[in-house]
C-alpha cells in the first residue's frame, strides 16, 4: 500500500521531468511562431503558394465573356451581363460583379475559365465596414470581350496577362490528363 503510494509519486515526478526535458529542449530550437501581422519579415501574402485561394480578381483584358464562371458558382455570387454591340457585332461586357462577402473561395469558378481571367489572388485581408463595399465591380464602363486572335498579332500589352492566366489554368488537372503530368516520377 505505502509502497505503491510512494511508487506513484516517484512515477509522477520522473514522467513530469521527462516532459519538462522536451519543453526545455525547445529553448534552444528555432521558434516556429510567426508574429502576424506587424512583425513579419515579408508580407504574408507574398509567402503564400501560387494555388492559394484568396480574394477573387478578374482580368477583363482577357475575359471572353463566356459565362462559364457564372454557371459554375454554386451560390451565384458572380453576376455578368454581356450584350451584343449592334454596330461592331462584338460582345460587350457591361457588368461583372463578384460578391466577396458571399464567396466561399472554393475555386469552382476559376476552374472552367478558358483564359485564367478570373483567378484567386493571395490577398486575404478583406475586412470592411459595409456589405455594399464587399461587392467588387470590375466593369466601370462597358468593355469589349477578349477574342483570341487567329494570328501572331496578339496585342503585346496583354501578353503578360495572358501568360499569367495560362499559367493559372495549367495548374488545374485536365480531365484525362491532356497536358503532361506536372511532376515527373
Amino acid at each position: 500500500m505505502a509502497n505503491s503510494y510512494f511508487g506513484n509519486i516517484k512515477d509522477a515526478v520522473t514522467t513530469i521531468f521527462e516532459g519538462l526535458a522536451v519543453t526545455a529542449s525547445h529553448l534552444i530550437r528555432k521558434p516556429y511562431t510567426v508574429q502576424y501581422p506587424d512583425r513579419v519579415p515579408v508580407r504574408v501574402q507574398d509567402t503564400l503558394p501560387f494555388r492559394y485561394r484568396g480574394i477573387l480578381e478578374v482580368d477583363l483584358d482577357i475575359c471572353t465573356g463566356c459565362l462559364a464562371c457564372e454557371r459554375a458558382c454554386p451560390i451565384d455570387c458572380i453576376v455578368i451581363v454581356v450584350e451584343k454591340d449592334k454596330q461592331t457585332r462584338q460582345m460587350l461586357i457591361s457588368q461583372f460583379d463578384i460578391d466577396i462577402a458571399k464567396c466561399m473561395y472554393c475555386g469552382l469558378c476559376s476552374e472552367p475559365c478558358p483564359t485564367g481571367a478570373i483567378h484567386h489572388t493571395t490577398e486575404f485581408e478583406g475586412a470592411d465596414f459595409s456589405l455594399e463595399s464587399m461587392i467588387r465591380r470590375f466593369v466601370p464602363e462597358p468593355i469589349y470581350a477578349y477574342k483570341p486572335s487567329k494570328g501572331p498579332e496578339t496585342d503585346p500589352r496583354i501578353i503578360p496577362i495572358l501568360n499569367r492566366g495560362m499559367r493559372y489554368v495549367n495548374e488545374f488537372a485536365q480531365p484525362g490528363g491532356e497536358k503532361p503530368a506536372a511532376e515527373e516520377a
Binding site: N8, D11, A12, T14, T15, I16, E18, G19, A21, V22, T23, Y32, L48, P49, R51, Y52, R53, A72, C73, P74, I75, M104, Y105, C106, G107, L108, E111, P112, H120, E171, F172, A173, Q174, P175, G176, G177, E178, A181, A182, E183, A185
Partner: protein, 371 residues
C-alpha cells in the same frame, strides 16, 4: 450505504471552451457525481443535406468540406466516391493516390488536433501547442497542394482538381522524416505522464457489446479492442495496395475500452498513416488525375451508399438520384452523432470533471453531429 444530497441541474455549454464547438449538456448531478448528462444537439445544424438538393453534384463539393471541417478530405472523398458509383466513373490511378495521400495527411492533422485538445481539456496546455505546431506544417503542405488550409475542396467527381505540385513529394517526405521523431517526443511529453494516465485510465469505460449496440465507429470502436477499419475490411480506393496495421485498444493502462485506450489508438494511427504515406509517395504512378466527367453531370436514376474511414470512423454517404442534375436525397452518416448518443449512458456515476475527458476521448466534432 451512500449519502445522497439534493439533485442539482447544471448547464454546460453551448459555448464552453472544452466542448469542441457548440455543444450543450444538461447535467443532473448529485454533489460532484453525475446522475446523467443529456446532450442537446442541433446548434450547428446547417441543412447541408438539403443544400445538396439545390446545388447539384459538382456544386456540392465545397459544402462537403463543412460537414466535418477537421477532416474535410474524407468528406470530399465520400461525396466523390458516391457520385462516381452512381455515374459509373472510374478514377485514374494517380488520382486515387493523390486522394489517399491528401486524406492520410488530413488524418494525421485531425488526430493531432484530437490528442492535443485532449491534453488541453484536462488542463495540460503545452501538448496542445506542440500538436498544433505539427498540424500547421501539414496545413502548409495541403495549402500548397490545393490552396486552402481547412475547407480544401480538393477532390472532384472523377479524381482531384490539382496534381501534386513540382517538388511537393520531396517536401512531404521531408515532413514525414521530421514527424516520426516528433511522435516519440510527444509521447515523452504527455502520453506516458503518470498524472495524465491517471486522469484517462479507467474513465469512460465502454464494453464492446455496448459499443456495437450504440453503433460506435472508428477509433472509439477500436479502442474497445475490436479490429474494424473500413480501409481493411471493406477496402476502397487503393488502400489494399498498402501495408499497414490497424491499432486496437489493449487496456495496457487500465481497463480495456477506457479513455486512455481511445487516446492511444489515435496516437498509434498517426504512425500507421505515416507508413501509408511513405508507401503512397513512393509508389505513386504517372498519368492523369481526373477522369472525364461532363460539366452537366446527370447520373442514372438509382441509389448508392459508400463508406469511407474518416478520422472519426465509418462515414457513410447515401445518395439517391432521380436522373436529373440534382440529387434527390443525400444523407450523411457520421461517427460523432453515434458517439453523442452514448455520452448519457457513460456519464452515469462519473465526476463532472471527467465529462470533458469523456467528450474529448470520443473526439466529437460539433459540426459533424448536426450537419
Amino acid at each position: 450505504m451512500s449519502l445522497r444530497t439534493e439533485e442539482m441541474t447544471l448547464n454546460m455549454g453551448p459555448q464552453h471552451p472544452s466542448t469542441h464547438g457548440v455543444l450543450r449538456f444538461v447535467i443532473k448531478a448529485d454533489g460532484e457525481v453525475m446522475r446523467e448528462a443529456i446532450p442537446d444537439v442541433g446548434y450547428l445544424h446547417r441543412s447541408i443535406e438539403k443544400i445538396a438538393e439545390k446545388v447539384g453534384y459538382h456544386g456540392f463539393m465545397p459544402y462537403t468540406d463543412r460537414v466535418d471541417y477537421v477532416c474535410a478530405m474524407f468528406t470530399n472523398q465520400g461525396w466523390g466516391m458516391a457520385c462516381e458509383r452512381l455515374g459509373g466513373i472510374e478514377v485514374p490511378k494517380r488520382g486515387e493516390y493523390c486522394r489517399v495521400i491528401a486524406a492520410e495527411f488530413n488524418r494525421i492533422a485531425s488526430h493531432l488536433l484530437s490528442v492535443g485538445t485532449m491534453g488541453m481539456d484536462i488542463g495540460a496546455m503545452t501538448p496542445f501547442t506542440h500538436a498544433i505546431r505539427e498540424r500547421e506544417m501539414i496545413n502548409d503542405l495541403i495549402e500548397e497542394l490545393c490552396g486552402a488550409r481547412l475547407t480544401f475542396n480538393y477532390m472532384r467527381i472523377g479524381g482531384v482538381a490539382w496534381d501534386l505540385p513540382p517538388g511537393w513529394r520531396e517536401k512531404a517526405l521531408a515532413y514525414l522524416d521530421h514527424f516520426d521523431p516528433i511522435w516519440e517526443e510527444y509521447n515523452a511529453l504527455i502520453s506516458y505522464n503518470k498524472i495524465y494516465v491517471e486522469r484517462l485510465a479507467n474513465v469512460g469505460v465502454i464494453n464492446l457489446q455496448d459499443a456495437i449496440d450504440y453503433n460506435l465507429v472508428g477509433p472509439n470502436l477500436r479502442g474497445c479492442g475490436f479490429k474494424w477499419d473500413i480501409r481493411k475490411d471493406i477496402p476502397y480506393s487503393v488502400y489494399p495496395e498498402f501495408d499497414f496495421e490497424v491499432p486496437v485498444g489493449t487496456g495496457e493502462f487500465g481497463t480495456l475500452g477506457d479513455a486512455m485506450d481511445r487516446y492511444m489508438v489515435r496516437i498509434r494511427e498517426m504512425r500507421e498513416s505515416s507508413k501509408i504515406l511513405r508507401q503512397a509517395l513512393k509508389q505513386i504512378p504517372d498519368g492523369p488525375v481526373l477522369a472525364k466527367v461532363p460539366r452537366n453531370f446527370k447520373p442514372k436514376a438509382g441509389e448508392c451508399q459508400v463508406r469511407v474511414e474518416s478520422a472519426r470512423g465509418d462515414m457513410g454517404w447515401y445518395v439517391v438520384s432521380d436522373g436529373s442534375a440534382y440529387p434527390w436525397r443525400v444523407h450523411v452518416r457520421t461517427g460523432s452523432f453515434a458517439a453523442m448518443g452514448m455520452i448519457n449512458k457513460l456519464s452515469r456515476g462519473l465526476m463532472i470533471a471527467d465529462l470533458v475527458t469523456l467528450i474529448a476521448s470520443l473526439d466529437v466534432i460539433a459540426p459533424e453531429i448536426d450537419r
